[in-house]
Symmetry: C2
Amino acid sequence: MLQERLFTRPLYVQVRDALAKRIAAGEWKPGAVMPNEGDLAGQFGVSPGTMRKALDLLESERLLTRRQGRGTFVKDPTAEDRVVRYCNLRGPRGKAIRGDINTLEINEVAAEEPERLRLQLTQDERVYRLKRARAYEGVAFMVEDVALPAALFPGLVERNVSPLAILELAQAYGILLGKGEETVSIGAASVWASDALRTAKASPVLFLDRVILTRDGRPAEWRRGECVPTRAMHYIVGMR
Amino acid sequence: MLQERLFTRPLYVQVRDALAKRIAAGEWKPGAVMPNEGDLAGQFGVSPGTMRKALDLLESERLLTRRQGRGTFVKDPTAEDRVVRYCNLRGPRGKAIRGDINTLEINEVAAEEPERLRLQLTQDERVYRLKRARAYEGVAFMVEDVALPAALFPGLVERNVSPLAILELAQAYGILLGKGEETVSIGAASVWASDALRTAKASPVLFLDRVILTRDGRPAEWRRGECVPTRAMHYIVGMR
DNA sequence: AAGTGGTCTAGACCACTCA
DNA sequence: GAGTGGTCTAGACCACTTG
């Protein structure tokens, strides 16, 4: 009659979140084996079926891998096969191309209107602004403006983050990343882009604009990129 | 119980496929209610848990919707919220933009090398080739070359398919569509594109190249498009 | 042989919808 | 109140991996 249910989420969801929290906290390191289903069920005081459902969810969220006869393993978010998640540029044999990152500038400033909108920040929050260039086999193919919520990445400027992408940053701060969304359009290169990429002024480039959320839905990165796909490099989209 | 596990796939997968087949065959029309879990389990001679797992799969594949207290419903693949699946162009308020399709040419021919590769056809298979233009609010923004395996769409030229997209075609032929993949790049408009789109010769456009598979993994459509995103139109990509 | 995850079963109870 | 899907439990057995 009264809906307690609105306040108590299903047990298997609670268990999933508890496990995710412990993974993010580093309780089980990437690559490590977790206890078996039965033991975990015992630890949490739930039935094996409920624990299984929680683990199924975590596997579908790519936090775990399970292999029959072996065990349950914590996935490494920075492993090669997971890097592709936010990287839609592909090379000749379909390999993801992240490029070598070079951070040209990094500043901590008060968030301005567009940043507050895209990162869902309140009036007086601060952001880190980065200017970066990416090179593949020595050739710069993309420049990007990145904004990161200062609250999520405390002390970022003191760290040496020059070559680090969002994946490694999140890893270093114990943040689990979730969904992202990117828009692709076409336009004329900005002045600093055509400068850094050594293309003709205002030559056509791909504009990329993406926001990546944390696993629990808070915006973690806003990136605007200008990209000149070199030969055999293309942007790829899977439709499930 | 139904089959020996040693020689067959898991029971819940068999049940899922049997249900999918009956849905594709039109046994339950889009929007119709299906029998409840218990009855279905009885029909198939499996336990309720196994039937539930099969239904869960079908729901994750977007063939079904289930609502507590209401029942299990067959989804309509051409419904507004499902059209977006293969349509990554969005308008101002995030609405999918399919545009009005106008088929300019349609031919049945022997598949050539690139078509055989992309559509995984054998040496002597045939394809339908279509040339189309898409317009939004009266303005053409995209032209496309489409290739369809003749084996999947028998008698296509005799039908009036001028305004039909792959979604409606598949529906008409009782084909369930599955995953797709699209690549996006940048280039100079071809002659017929700049002609149809009334842009300057060789002006920059988005090149779109996609293949859509059927639910069971056979290529169903290869499309190459040249697109001039007008106004607030943009290409969007979700990263899960 | 021992241990793991994967499949399958059977049933109780809860939450939601609608007549 | 009757019917539906959603949650949770408890346990048997299978398939795979490793020592």
